[in-house]
Amino acid sequence: MGAVARVDRVFDALGDPGRRALVATVAARGSATATELAAELPVTRQAVAKQLGVLMDAGLLQPTRVGRETRYRVTPEPFDDAAAWLVEMGARWDERLAALGRSLTRARASTSSVGVLQHRRTRGKPARPDDGAASGA
């Protein structure tokens, strides 16, 4: 196979979201069997086996026989960079969005107490530093 055809195969193989998920899962686990992947992803073992074939043809995964089973690994550099990016960025956004939810919950709690204080002041009570804090507690 020529270089151009090879690049096309890599791009085609990664154009499918299911195959990208498969590669990301293999990368996250280090290595995996078709059975393990079928257990982890919402697809059948036959579907996994078929997609693994496409990914191997593209040179993105390599099989290793371990006893009776075949384990798949992500082919090293430079594809590792891409797979690592997917796994790491996904994990980062999961953490960030959880933190965003906590931050907004805190902000909403403090904003509503400020709102109460401001509301009291607009009703003409003198704004003393201890005014709202004492009565609002």
């Binding site: 990664l14 040179g59 891409a82 960030r96 969005l97 939810g101 931050s103």
Partner: protein, 117 residues
């Protein structure tokens, strides 16, 4: 080749509150980065630092308050944040696109070619 990561979450706040959390540096430091600087206008610059010493720089490509924020990272990647009011709060949709790995893959394919040709 570009890859992307997509996430969606509903947060208990209205789009205005979420927009503040997405664009005010001191709020960004509560969830996005350890240190944040951001001028949230098209063409504005952002600098984000994390505890492990990582620093990323970005330029704001789009900023539609309470709706959509798009940053172009200086490594070629981008992040799109979209907000939509829903029951119970705001749906936050994130799509981060990787830098272009194509050049590296292509070099690698050329390097492999002789043994596969």
């Amino acid at each position: 080749m570009e890859l992307h990561v997509e996430r969606e979450v509903v947060v208990p706040a209205d789009p205005g509150e979420v927009w503040e959390a997405l664009t005010e540096p001191e709020r960004l430091e509560e969830w996005f980065a350890t240190e944040a600087e951001l001028d949230p206008r098209p063409g504005g610059e952002g600098v984000f630092r994390w505890g492990d010493g990582e620093e990323r720089r970005a330029v704001v490509r789009e900023a539609e308050p309470e709706e959509r924020l798009v940053l172009d990272w200086d490594d070629g990647g981008e992040v799109v944040l979209e907000l939509e009011e829903v029951d119970g709060g705001t749906l936050v949709r994130v799509r981060e696109t990787s830098p272009d790995f194509a050049a590296a893959l292509e070099l690698s394919a050329l390097a492999w070619a002789p043994s596969h040709a």
